[in-house]
């Protein structure tokens, strides 16, 4: 199959170089054929790890030269007749080969006239025959005899012989010797146990003792605190009472003070009112309205009028003064230059009627004025009658007039 295949493939390859190479059966690594068959009762061949065999030892690989082609028949299932015939031919071929081998001489052909003869050259001649001389021998054990016992195997003695002997009293008496050891062991164990138990007992007793003590202590402490509390309460109560009492006293004191103050104030204020009234009356707060009215309105007006009148008088006088002055100056001038007498009298008379006229007008208004006006007119007349004694007399009369006015 292989050579034919190869030829085919080579042809295919040669024919189509450009075409991608394709296998009819892909190359794969062949696993090793197990040495032994699986036992017949194995249900299924177990899939072990695939063992890849060495190519060199694979029986399926063609060995030897492959130049001589071995033609494999196309059909791989020949019929049994063929097989038998092949077998027979093979057997005959083998037999022929064997005989041929035998006949074939390995030594060169005998020379002419000679013959090759097989000869034995050993010391003793041997009869060569096909069958081997066999001698039959029989052997049999004694009938119904038991197998004898094996003899005792005593090995040979080797080494030196040594002997020992324990004398009396050398061996220790276990019971006596063990006592101290036991004592120590047991003693230590018991000691340890006692220690532990004592520890716990001690602790328990300590705790109980402490509990009792704690109880007593707590009771005493509670008692102390209770007494403290009681004491505090009493103290507080006392404080409160004291405070209350103090407050009471304070209040009493205040009340007495208040009463005293009230009495004093009452007495003080008793003649306060009349004194107040007196003061007020004295300072003029109580007034008769008409009187007041007269005082506030009438009198100022009167005073204003009087002032006005006086002013007028003064004005008159000053005018008169100035007149007289001018007259006197003129007279002086005249005396120095001899001026006439009637000129002085005429201007002196002129202001007189002007004075008299307003005075007459005023007379009709007031009651008091006629008195003063009469006086004034008299004075003016007196003055007019004394024109010569100008400055001194005017001044005197002015002063007298003013003095009179003041006395009024």
């Amino acid at each position: 199959m292989l050579p034919a295949r190869d030829a085919e493939e080579a042809a295919a390859a040669a024919a189509a170089l450009a075409v991608r190479y394709s296998y009819s059966s892909r190359p794969r690594a062949l696993s090793a054929r197990p040495k032994y068959r699986a036992p017949p009762d194995a249900a299924e061949p177990e899939k072990e790890s695939v063992r890849y065999a060495n190519l060199m030892y694979d029986r399926r690989v063609v060995r030897g030269n492959t130049y001589a082609l071995q033609v494999i028949p196309a059909c791989t299932h020949p019929d049994p007749l063929e097989i038998q015939r092949q077998r027979e031919t093979r057997r005959r071929a083998l037999a022929r080969k064997r005989t041929k081998e035998q006949e074939q001489s390995r030594t060169p052909e005998p020379v002419e006239g000679r013959e090759h003869v097989h000869v034995q050259t050993e010391l003793y001649l041997e009869e060569i025959s096909d069958w081997v001389i066999g001698v039959d021998t029989e052997c049999q054990t004694d009938a119904f005899l038991d197998r004898p016992p094996t003899p005792l195997f005593i090995p040979a003695k080797t080494g030196k012989d040594v002997a020992t002997q324990i004398e009396e009293g050398e061996l220790f008496d276990f019971d006596i010797e063990v006592k101290p050891i036991l004592e120590v062991l047991v003693g230590k164990t018991v000691e340890q146990a006692l220690l532990e138990v004592m520890e716990e007992e001690e602790l328990a007793r300590l705790w109980a003792h402490q509990c009792a003590y704690a109880e007593l202590r707590n009771a005493e402490l509670a008692e102390v605190q209770r007494l403290e509390e009681q004491d505090r309460r009493y103290r507080e109560e006392k404080e409160r009472r004291k405070r209350q009492h103090k407050e009471l006293l304070q209040k009493q004191k205040e009340t007495t003070e208040k009463i005293a103050a009230r009495a004093f104030a009452k007495r003080y204020l008793a003649d306060l009112i009349p004194s107040v009234f007196n003061n007020l009356h004295e300072s003029g707060f109580f007034y008769d309205p008409i009187e007041r009215d007269i005082e506030t309105e009438f009198l100022p007006w009167l005073m204003a009028e009087v002032e006005e009148t006086l002013e007028r008088k003064v004005l008159g006088r000053t005018m008169l003064d100035s007149l007289i002055r001018t007259v006197v100056e003129k007279r002086l001038d005249a005396f120095s230059s001899q001026p006439p007498f009637d000129q002085t009298e005429a201007p002196a008379e002129e202001p007189r009627p002007t004075d008299v006229e307003p005075q007459v007008a005023i007379e009709t208004d007031a009651d008091d004025q006629p008195v003063t006006e009469e006086k004034e007119t008299d004075k003016l007349v007196a003055e007019a009658q004394r024109p010569r004694r100008i400055s001194f007399m005017l001044h005197d009369s002015d002063q007298a007039g003013t003095e009179d006015l003041e006395t009024e």
Partner: protein
């Protein structure tokens, strides 16, 4: 080389987990060296051997002298949990002896132990709490615990730990709070303890009542307790267990010192159960009950009620205990006092 071991199999009664102990006085120094070795197994074996040795008070003294406590403090921070367990056990056993306690206080072991309070292993924490409990029995130990600021932690732990550890914590707290109660009050201890008063376990109830007793010996504690806890305590007076009754009576005794407490106790009807307790001859709570009734008798209503029960107190005068007799006399005097 010749070994001390003759055969490869160990003798049958030896404990392979313990280090072999040297003879006599050399035992502890050798263990000390082994504790410092870098090999984990050696340290563990040394600790196991130490645990056994420390039950002896003389060995405790020697250990403290040799300076074991510094090594143990370092080992507390070891990463292996077996070592930590065993170290706490050793410290607990040492704390059971007075010498050990003194040594622990001097070397400041309490703060080192406090770091391990959150350890997940139960046994470790149990040992730590046992150590604290033992330490708290000493006044200096209690002060030490207070200074280390452990009270807030302990109060918090009350909520989360299992029952037996809770009992230990309550014991520690009761001893520490005898000295000073303000820290615990600041952390809301009263609320937590009130819950515990209604716990199912008898031991926890009695211990919680005891802690409340200690809290109420201080002034601020009394104020805290008067409002909320008095009714619960009065309820506990009728509890079946005598321990619980005794502790509850004690706590009431202190709570009724203040007038508020007295009124709330009277309001909760404390007088009948207290009278019952006084009438019992062998009650543990007799003394405390007499004292509490004395307090309540200072209030006018209490006095009125108790005037009818003076015969109970007369009976108490026959009690063998001196303190009870005195207390009964005081009680009678207070009841019959006229303002």
């Amino acid at each position: 080389m010749a070994h001390t071991r003759i055969s490869s199999s160990l003798p049958p009664d030896i404990d392979p987990t313990k280090a072999p102990i040297a003879f006599g006085r050399r035992a502890l120094p050798k263990l000390n060296e082994e504790l410092q070795s870098p090999v984990l197994l050696t340290q563990q074996r040394a600790l196991m051997a130490l645990c056994d040795l420390v039950h002896d008070p003389e060995k405790v003294y020697q250990a403290v002298e040799l300076g074991f406590l510094d090594n143990l403090k370092t080992l507390l921070r070891h990463h292996d949990s077996t070592i930590r367990q065993k170290t706490t056990e050793v410290l607990y056993i040492m704390a059971m002896h007075s010498v050990g306690r003194q040594g622990l206080i001097k070397n400041g072991v309490i703060s080192a132990l406090a770091e391990l309070l959150d350890n997940p292993v139960d046994i470790c924490r149990k040992n730590i709490h046992q150590t604290f409990e033992m330490m708290a029995k000493l006044p200096e130990g209690a002060v030490d615990i207070l200074h280390a600021g452990l009270i807030p932690f302990l109060v918090l732990k009350l909520k989360s730990e299992p029952d037996e550890i809770q009992e230990l914590i309550l014991d520690t707290l009761s001893n520490c709070l005898r000295v000073e109660a303000s820290e615990a009050l600041a952390n809301g201890a009263v609320t937590i303890l009130k819950e515990k008063l209604t716990h199912s376990s008898v031991a926890i109830r009695s211990k919680a009542a005891w802690v409340l007793l200690e809290i109420s010996t201080h002034l601020e504690g009394k104020t805290a307790i008067c409002e909320e806890v008095t009714p619960v305590l009065v309820g506990l007076l009728e509890d079946a267990d005598p321990e619980v009754q005794a502790s509850a009576t004690g706590a009431l005794m202190f709570a009724t010192v203040k007038p508020q407490g007295r009124f709330s106790a009277l309001g909760a009807g404390a007088i009948p159960p207290l009278l019952k307790l006084v009438a019992e001859e062998t009650s543990k709570a007799r003394l405390s009950a007499i004292k509490t009734l004395t307090m309540l008798a200072e209030v006018p209503e209490g006095r009125k009620t108790l005037l009818g029960h003076t015969h109970t107190f007369q009976q108490c005068l026959n009690d063998p205990s001196e303190a009870v007799k005195r207390a009964a006399q005081i009680a009678i005097r207070v009841i019959q006092w006229k303002p």
